[in-house]
Assembly symmetry: C2
């Protein structure tokens, strides 16, 4: 009896990615021995062709973005990666080269971030490529960094630069100029900030995926605090700065940054900066949490409240 | 700041489904304290509209099938359910009623099978509805029932009736008659056989999702054994029997049964039958594992090898 192509593909491209718990992808489920005395952290995200990535994005980068956006969720909780499962729905005529490139992207990032494939599913679809990934990590019990925890007087810190994701999408679609491809790269390949959100230094955290202002609103509602962001303090890449303050609104509300937004007690800020430097991650203070209603205000250079076209991205 | 509709929907339809580890779906990831001294079992499956379910299937049944096919993977490993994550990609114009029905289906099955929602993602898609579900369960360490383990001389047992899934799809699309809707129900609402595959009674197991002959081939390859199935012993529902032996090939190779296929030592078979009876699950012996190449032979009433059009379902 020959094996159908579905199983051949799994054997060829995905079995080499499986860790010990993945049982060579030969069973109905994976088996994990949870690390002793740790809590399991688990998250799942979906990515759809034409919505989360472009039809002509290289498959290896699509795979890495899928893995990295989920790693970013672990980073936001202060967790370490353990493994992942992925479901892949592609058209029946998808060439072998697509699977080869997609799995090569996963392989590269598995090595970089130290985790293995545990399982998943590969099916056909008559529509756009639809992907999902479930990531598992672990933290010391009670030490996960949550969205709840910001207090009035806490400083708002953010990693990396903000706005490159939104500008990068425009660069990738040819709407704006991107001579060295920096912005498109930032859209296609997020940098999960694993290890940054240390529970002794960060009171609350999330990753900026739907736009900084909207995501900051989540921290405000969870902590029942307000927030003031000082727009000129927003860290922007050199590539983003070329477009001047015209794109400031887009940078504040565009999605796909996958940087960490953190509430940090003023006395912990120097230690966070030192810790970030040791990791090679740039961090910037962009404002503070305030008493009052859970509302985000963005102030311009003159201290006036900026009007923004929207808070951030919503699928519906 | 008003919340975008995406978050409203999550709050209204999915937050009520969240268990304690789900953190009210307000964080980037869920937190689980693994049951002390147990192994974690985890699996993920995708379902695509037009491939795994029909566009006009009721959303509550689609949700329950999604959860149940994954519960069936836990059942195959002899595991108990712990929780699940789900990703949902639907068109932007999907009505509120769809979300209400879909979440009501999940709620019903959460109660029936004793598990809770841990997290996930809800996104838009320009294409068919694409769903994924990751299920977590647990087993005593080393006690998971694997696909590997069948030995020559072991009996082949199967739960429930075989072929209703494939006939049910034909009934649901109006290709065959189904006066009381029994077959379409079997296609739309699998019955995960949780608790049946006890590690002390079952040497190897999987759930029949891609067709009995093909799935039995997996047990053969894993155990390096052959298999003989006696076709007249195949348990078929009254509804399936109405179509006579003409559909025997379809029943043997059609997908969507979600019954358990088990390798059972001859001395354990009576205890398995007793155990199944206590659970209210019908089990049938349909053949035996043999020495030799990992090939499945199906014998007809005269002992002749039946020719089958295919082994089972492949997505590619």
């Amino acid at each position: 009896m020959t094996m159908p192509p579905e199983f051949d593909r799994i054997a060829r491209y995905f079995r080499p990615l499986a860790g010990p718990g993945g049982l060579d992808l030969l069973d109905d489920a994976a088996l994990i021995d949870p690390p002793a005395g740790r809590q399991i952290v688990i998250a799942a995200d979906a990515m759809v062709e034409g919505v989360h990535f472009l039809p002509d994005d290289p498959p290896d980068l699509v795979a890495r973005k899928l893995l990295r956006t989920n790693l970013s969720d672990l980073a936001a909780m202060g967790a370490e990666p353990l493994g992942y499962l992925t479901t892949i729905s592609v058209r029946r005529d998808t060439p072998e080269a697509w699977f080869a490139a997609f799995s090569a992207g996963l392989a590269a990032d598995q090595q970089q971030f130290g985790l293995n494939l545990l399982g998943g599913d590969c099916t056909s679809t008559p529509g756009p490529v639809s992907l999902s990934l479930t990531i598992l990590g672990h933290v010391a019990p009670g030490q996960a960094v949550r969205r709840i925890g910001a207090r009035p007087g806490d400083e708002i810190w953010v990693s990396g630069t903000i706005g490159d994701g939104a500008l990068g999408l425009m660069a990738a679609t040819g709407e704006i100029d991107d001579p060295d491809g920096f912005l498109a790269d930032r859209y296609r390949l997020p940098q999960p900030r694993l290890g940054l959100a240390r529970p002794d230094l960060v009171r609350a955290c999330l990753d900026v995926s739907d736009g900084l202002v909207q995501d900051l609103g989540h921290l405000c509602r969870a902590g029942q605090v307000g927030a003031q962001v000082f727009a000129p303090a927003l860290p922007r890449s050199k590539a983003a700065q070329r477009f001047g303050d015209e794109v400031l609104g887009l940078c504040l509300t565009g999605g796909d940054d996958y940087e960490l937004l953190m509430a940090v007690g003023p006395r912990d800020a120097p230690a966070l900066a030192t810790h970030a430097r040791a990791l090679g991650i740039k961090v910037s203070r962009i404002g503070m949490f305030t008493q009052g209603a859970p509302v985000v205000r963005v102030l311009d250079a003159r201290g006036a409240t900026m009007a923004l076209p929207r808070g951030g991205w919503s699928h519906f």
